[in-house]
């Protein structure tokens, strides 16, 4: 943490995926439905989660590190899931 940096609110976007090899029943059902709708070119579907965190931090890296801690402690079950974190310095979604 560098001195003099101002705390601001960052947005961390967390994507949670089911690991390869973990049965994704939702993904399978969605795939069947899409194929029934005529999307024969569809190869596979995996359904995951999107979590948006607003974090007060000194800089982007610090915000990302906190988001990672939150993933490990609660948001992600690492036996069955993997995650990616993207941090931006503004709100995301419809309001931005």
């Amino acid at each position: 943490m560098r001195r003099g940096e101002k705390v601001m609110t960052y947005t961390a976007e967390v994507l949670v995926y089911l690991k390869e090899g973990v049965l994704d029943t939702q993904g399978k059902a969605v795939k069947q439905s899409l194929q029934r709708l005529g999307f024969q070119d569809l190869e596979d579907v995996r359904v995951g989660k999107y979590i948006q965190l607003r974090i007060n931090a000194e800089n982007e890296e610090a915000a990302k590190a906190r988001a990672k801690e939150m993933c490990v402690e609660l948001l992600v079950n690492e036996l069955i899931e993997e995650f990616d974190i993207k941090v931006v310095d503004r709100p995301c979604g419809p309001q931005s």
Partner: protein, 234 residues
Amino acid sequence: MRAAVVVFPGSNCDRDVIHALRTTVSADTETLWYESSDLPKNIDLIVLPGGFSYGDYLRCGAMAARTPVMKAVRRFAEKGGLVLGICNGFQVLTESRLLPGAILANQSLTFICRSCTVRVERTDTPFTLGCRENQVLEMPIAHHEGLYFLPDEEISRLKKEKRVVFRYCGPDGELDDSHNPNGSLDNIAGIVNERGNVMGLMPHPERASEKILGSDDGTLIWNSLRIWLEKGGR
């Protein structure tokens, strides 16, 4: 027997468990609020009941597993205390890593609420010592997430260590896909930890603890615990 039944926000089988424990084995039973970090003195058994703790948000049992009471439950289990997780309670035990694995959505993607039969795979645990080897018990299941999952290499270890206590089966104990209600790996319905003092299962013994409910096979579990404790099990 002195038992405590944990109540999380969204638990809904706590009273049934208390009723079953009191009526079948005259257990001295009290409730334990999820915010408390101390356990009542001299308890023999903690039950994590079924229900929808925290609305099943994020992952079933995930938030309940990180409440203050679960820290106390972990200490209790580490000292050899008996812990039983039923349905959502089983999910809380896997989420808190007191038991291995994860419990995923049923293969059918539907909520399944019906009676089922399970085969007793071990009779040397505190929870099943009153059962016969391969005895078939009838108990209801009621869940949307009941598919027991473990990565390949870990499931073979679990089986080698004989940690599977109940398997879904047919009326005569036959193990096949047609008698696997939720797609659980290897028909697994209940497991224990290495030491054998923590068990989780998806079927509800408390809903099968008197004949008028259609089955009283669940009493075998309460009675096993009673016998174990009378023999000075811990």
